[in-house]
C-alpha cells in the first residue's frame, strides 16, 4: 500500500501507529476511564469528535497561525471544541458527564490531540487531516475499549454493565483499581509490540518524541537525556 495514500492515512491509526499502544499518547485518560466499557467508549468518542474538529480547523488555519505562537493557538482551538463537547454531553447525556467527570475537561491537554495538531494537521491539507483525525480517533477508541474489556470483565465480572456468568462470581477487584490499569496497559503494549514487531516505528524514548511539548523543549530535560542515550 502506498504510504501516503488517503486510505493509509486513515488506517494507520488503527494498529501500526495506534496512538495509545504505539505512539504512547494520551496515557492519562487511557488509564483513568477504562474501568468500564461504557466510560471508555464515551471517552474515545468524545476525544475523536474533538480531534476531527480541531484537526480540520488547525489545518485550515495552518498558513495563518504564526510559528512562534502556534502552541497557544492550538490550545485555544482545542479548548473551544472541548467546551462544546462538554456542554453537549452535559445536556444530552448527563450520566456520561457524571461518569467521566474532570477527564472530559482534560481532553484539552490530551497529548493525542495536541500531538496530531503538531505532527500532522499543521503540515497537511484539510481532507487528509480529517481522515487522520478519524483514524487516530478510532484507534484511540478501539484501544480504550480493548483495555476496558479486559479490566471490566476481570475486575467487575461484567461487560458494558451486563453481568457475565462465572466472571461475576469471581471478580478480581485489583483490575479496576489504579495498579491494575497500569499493569493491563503495560501488558497490552507488550502484546502490540510483539504483533507489529519490525513494522511499527519503534520508539527509543517514549513520552517525549510523541509529546506535544517536545517542539517547545528541544533543549529541554527529556530531550537531552534521550540524545545522550542514543549516543
Amino acid at each position: 500500500m502506498n504510504k501516503n495514500s488517503n486510505m493509509s492515512v486513515l488506517l494507520r491509526g488503527l494498529l501500526l501507529e495506534n496512538p495509545v499502544f504505539v505512539l504512547i499518547l494520551g496515557t492519562c485518560p487511557t488509564l483513568a476511564t477504562t474501568t468500564t466499557v461504557i466510560g471508555a467508549l464515551s471517552m474515545g468518542l468524545a476525544a475523536m469528535a474533538v480531534l476531527i474538529c480541531s484537526n480540520a480547523v488547525i489545518s485550515l488555519l495552518r498558513k495563518v497561525i504564526p510559528d512562534g505562537v502556534r502552541i497557544p493557538c492550538y490550545i485555544v482551538i482545542i479548548a473551544g471544541f472541548v467546551t462544546m463537547v462538554q456542554m453537549f454531553v452535559q445536556a444530552f447525556l448527563p450520566e456520561i458527564y457524571e461518569l467521566l467527570g474532570v477527564y472530559l475537561a482534560l481532553i484539552t491537554v490530551n497529548c493525542i490531540i495536541l500531538g496530531r495538531a503538531e505532527m500532522f494537521a499543521s503540515k497537511n491539507t484539510v481532507g487528509r487531516s480529517v481522515l487522520d483525525g478519524i483514524g487516530m480517533g478510532l484507534g484511540f477508541t478501539l484501544a480504550l475499549v480493548a483495555m476496558a474489556t479486559v479490566r471490566e470483565v476481570l475486575g467487575s465480572g461484567s461487560f458494558a454493565g451486563i453481568a457475565l456468568p462465572f466472571f461475576s462470581t469471581h471478580t478480581i477487584s485489583f483490575f479496576i483499581k489504579a495498579p491494575g490499569g497500569m499493569l493491563v496497559y503495560g501488558v497490552m503494549i507488550a502484546i502490540v509490540n510483539k504483533l507489529t514487531h519490525g513494522k511499527a516505528p519503534r520508539k527509543k524514548s517514549f513520552a517525549c518524541a510523541g509529546c506535544p511539548s517536545a517542539a517547545m523543549c528541544s533543549a529541554g530535560a527529556c530531550e537531552t537525556s534521550a540524545v545522550k542515550e542514543d549516543n
Binding site: 504512547i24 496515557t27 492519562c28 485518560p29 488509564l31 483513568a32 502552541i71 497557544p72 490550545i75 485555544v76 479548548a79 473551544g80 472541548v82 467546551t83 462538554q86 456542554m87 474532570v102 475537561a105 482534560l106 484539552t108 491537554v109 490530551n110 497529548c111 495536541l114 483499581k177 489504579a178 495498579p179 491494575g180 490499569g181 497500569m182 499493569l183 496497559y185 503495560g186 501488558v187 503494549i189 507488550a190 502484546i191 509490540n193 510483539k194 514487531h197 520508539k203 517514549f206 513520552a207 517525549c208 509529546c211 506535544p212 511539548s213 517547545m216 523543549c217 533543549a219 529541554g220 530535560a221 527529556c222 537525556s225
Partner: protein
Amino acid sequence: MDTFKNLIVILMSSVLVNNYVLSRFLGICPFLGVSKKLGQATGMGVSVIFVMLIATLVTWPIQHYVLDPMNLGYMQTIVFILVIAALVQFVEIVLKKFMPALHKSLGVYLPLITTNCAVLGVTINNITDGYNFVESLVSSLGVGLGFLLAMVLFAGVRSRLDESDVPECFKGLPVTLIAASFVSLAFFGFAGVVDNLFA
C-alpha cells in the same frame, strides 16, 4: 483548631491517598518521561509544585470573582488553560531576568508543564470540590508534593529496572508501566491512614 485539622487532612490525603499520579492518573506523561534520573525527577517535581501553587493563586479568584458573577462557568476550561499557559511563560521570563540560577535549574521543565494535565486537573478539582481559597492552596501544595514523592520514588525504581534483563517485547515502556503498577499498589496501603489520623 478545626480549620487547621481540616487543612492537615486535605494536605495528607492529596499527598498520600489521592496521589494524582498513582491513583488518579493525572500527569502520567512527565511521570514516565522525566523519571529516568533522580536529579531530573526532583527538578520536575519542584517546578510542578511551583506552577500548581501559582496557578491556583490565580485561577481560584478568577473563577469566584469573574466567571461565577458573570455566569460564565462554561468558559472554565478555556480560561484556565489559557491562564496556565500564559502564567508558565510569564514565570519563565521573570525567572530568567531576576533569578537566573533558579531558571537554570527549573527553566527547562517549565514549558513541559503547560500541557501537564495534573495542573489543569488540580485547578478544576479545587473548584468542583468546593474548597475555599486557603484550602485550595493547601490542596495544590499537597498534590504537588505527592507528585514529587511519586517521581522521586519511581526514579529510584527505574534505576534498578535499567539493569535488569526483560523480555524483548517488554523492553522500555511496558516494563516501566508494570513497575509503576507495583509502586501504585504500595500507595494503596495509605488508604486508611488519613481517616484514622485524628480518630
